[in-house]
Symmetry: C2
């Protein structure tokens, strides 16, 4: 990357020999990073603005060598990151950094093809189809479920609801929703525990945030089917049009599982699209003993599963499976003139199934992860994460100073301190302070979540590097912190 | 990646030593690929389904070694790709494969952090802000333009129009568009040459495809401002509500440039949001002598620029700059409970500006490309691509058997055969046959496009590996093919 190309210093790319040397330099950087990740502070101590202030305010006028860039990477950037790949990172939904995932992204970047249509890179489209078929089988979805890869589950949910909106048969693609006296209000239903991406999708689609009905959840944070049906009936009586129900398999806060079979029956009865958000929980279907979590999903019109959540494929890789792919095409298929001639009989053109035109070759990394681990390897890792979560839950239950805040059906544990005769608000503040204090040590990383107005500690397991020792050390840190703080 | 971890064969990741060895193996694979890319067939000869048929129908049950995966990569996948990085690939908008871009993606994959909020990885958010500020300066946009990175320009345009829709002040986020007797039709305007992503965005947003007015373009494929204003006035008279105009700097077919200054004045006069699609053409602003192309864009409410089109950053990396970031937040900001505590004073949380929650660390690759090339290096490469395009245009003009089909303001050349007394349809078919025949040689890659109902050949230059020799060889191939075919 240095300017050692005398003939033509600012044209072309670096020389082949130079590039090869730099690739090996970066390969070692990655190996070193991964080898030492467990010894790093997980989260930084910088104040907002400190990192930006350490970098130049303008782009350099002239080329800089890779060595200088890697120096700044090590000096400024890396210490300012939260290391999601650290084995004691228990935030959000774990990390999916894996060796084959990294190698897959490397190769995809070198290829840098775009899977807009079959013709723009046949192997990218066909490998996407193959990998999605492999995953469909592993998830035990119906063979009528056809998949497409998007970047995130928020985008997958938006596409599912766009298809549901079109399926109303109200000529919405062509005529839109505004200024049409004939149109009813369009209603979408989800539990109080469903992900905020439902709101973002509904806002985007012009359905309106207030037209999302948040159906109450039961004691275990699962949608109450009777309450759902009551809301649908009430809306129908009021002249509104029920459009879609979003059920969740693995909610973000507690990984609770909505009763999908009962919901599917209600949807069928009233002609409402059923979308299942199994972005996290879909992975449960790989384990025979945990397949209950996906029961009924087979009947869903659409289901989102994120291999970048619990199937070891690096960010981003979210799959939407749908029994009604024609409805997605009915919303999104266009063939701009300069892509004419790209349509090939029997070839899938994934640009016809969504808003994005440019599409990275994401299938490659999933293919490499699935092959490197094998289905049994995926299974045993998922199984181990569940075992670790339930082990932690048992430690919490055995400790009189703590209590579980929700059941632990998957690999996320919600818990908090238990104190007699202490006001709820004070306990909430203590849980919050524990999370903050643990994170400040840099030795583990937790998040907090709200459950029925209370603040609890949330610990998610999902990293291939995480062992029982990491979970035990974090638990000891939480106990010690709680004892110290109050 | 082999199963040489005796203690625990299916837990954890590969060993550090094993991973380091595999990283170097893949580094060499990438170096070999890049070193030999110019010698490869650009596009494959497979029929749809052939690649999928060569791969197993199900995921393997047990781990497979990297060597087996790389063998299949070389045997099945790579021969089935269109090699966008080949120096004679002249399709779409060129390729942005560059050495620093590949290295940046490698490191980002190893880090695998998510830039949802500032707190989820401060350096990822702050580097995004820094890199977007560097780019803003290079583009000579106003310092009131604030940027955000999305995946593609289609998504950027959708967000821009979502903000424009909210800016109507009709309470659309909350109440939506359907079933409201008070709402007018909402109208969006673009030229006949604007990208199809405008239609996809308008469909998605519930505005309705028929509410996009395609304003006629002039002889040089630029929007006619008087025609635009007439459409706006007509819609207002009919009780409709003009929402946004999408002007284009560098249309997809011919890279024509709409008269943005005049359009901005019309938008200002009628209170309509101006979005500029400079996904491709924005790069022109880096050259003092080509800055005319972005004249007036400074006044736009929003502008999309794709560094993954002509600024050497690999797919995907699209930037939306807007003077009204508050309007994007007004549409998309939500704070789900489990992200509470992530809000930090003075810190940007990019999830509040769009539909995506999970966000890859895309800023890293842009930072590495901009530093490795330097602003002067970016300039000289863009300048060289323009020089090559105009050189080709001069060859076409000097050849009595060919003619230019449109002006060549940037680095895309539209042209076709010239024949006296031959019906237009026959010439169209000949142009189409030339594209197909050239592509079948595997030595160059062209696309075709439609201009006023005619089919022409389209050749786009933008790859750092492309030299004058590649353009000359392609031109000779086109000439020989035309002579042979008709």
């Amino acid at each position: 990357m240095s300017n050692d190309e005398p003939a033509c210093p600012t044209l072309g790319d670096v020389s082949a020999a130079e590039f090869r040397a730099r690739l090996h330099e970066v390969a070692d950087w990655i190996a070193d990073y991964r080898e030492t990740i467990a010894t790093r502070r997980i989260s930084p101590q910088e104040r907002p603005g400190a990192i930006a202030a350490a970098l130049p305010a303008s782009a350099p006028a002239h080329p800089e060598p890779l060595a200088a860039i890697l120096r700044d990477l090590d000096r400024v950037i890396v210490p300012g990151l939260v290391h999601w790949g650290h084995p004691a990172f228990f935030g959000y939904f774990g990390s999916t950094t894996t060796a084959p995932g990294i190698l897959g992204e490397m190769i995809a970047a070198a290829l840098n093809v775009s899977a807009m249509t079959w013709r723009t890179s046949p192997a990218a489209t066909e490998l996407e189809s193959v990998v999605l078929e492999w995953l469909r089988q592993m998830l035990h979805l119906s063979d009528r479920h056809q998949g497409i890869v998007y970047d995130t589950a928020s985008v997958a949910t938006m596409h599912a609801l766009a298809a549901a909106r079109e399926a109303l048969g109200l000529d919405i693609r062509r005529s839109g929703l505004a200024g049409r006296a004939d149109l009813p209000r369009i209603k979408v239903y989800a539990s109080s525990e469903a992900h905020s991406s439902v709101d973002k999708a509904v806002i985007t689609l012009g359905i309106g945030e207030e037209n999302v009905t948040r159906v109450p959840a039961d004691d275990e944070y699962r949608i109450v089917p009777a309450a759902l049906e009551a809301e649908i009936l009430k809306d129908m009586a009021d002249g509104h049009r029920p459009c879609a129900v979003v059920a969740t398999v693995g909610t973000t806060s507690t990984t609770s599982v909505d009763p999908v079979e009962e919901i599917a029956a209600i949807c069928r009865k009233h002609g409402v699209w059923l979308h299942v958000d199994a972005a996290y929980g879909g992975a449960m279907a790989l384990l025979p003993e945990e397949r209950w979590a996906m029961a009924g999903v087979d009947a869903a019109d659409s289901v989102a599963v994120n291999p970048h959540k619990w199937l070891f494929v690096p960010l981003d890789f979210s799959v939407l499976y749908t029994r009604r792919p024609g409805m997605l095409r009915a919303v999104f298929a266009l063939t701009p003139e300069y892509l004419r001639g790209d349509a090939s009989a029997n070839a899938e053109n994934y640009m016809d199934y969504g808003i994005q035109l440019g599409r990275r070759f994401r299938a490659l990394k999933a293919w490499m992860v699935f092959r490197t681990f094998g289905e049994e390897g995926l299974r045993s890792r998922i199984r181990e994460h569940i075992r670790l979560a339930r082990l932690l839950a048992s430690w919490i239950e055995a400790d009189p100073a703590f209590e579980l805040a929700a059941p632990v059906p998957m690999a996320v544990v919600c818990f908090g301190v238990k104190r007699e005769n202490v006001p709820a608000r004070e306990i909430d503040r203590l849980n919050e302070a524990i999370v903050q204090s643990v994170n400040e040590t840099g030795e583990a990383y937790l998040t907090q979540t709200g459950l029925r107005g209370r603040t609890v500690i949330r610990l998610a397991i999902g990293n291939v590097l995480t062992t029982e020792a990491h979970v035990a050390a974090c638990w000891e840190l939480v106990r010690a912190t709680a004892a110290r703080l109050g």
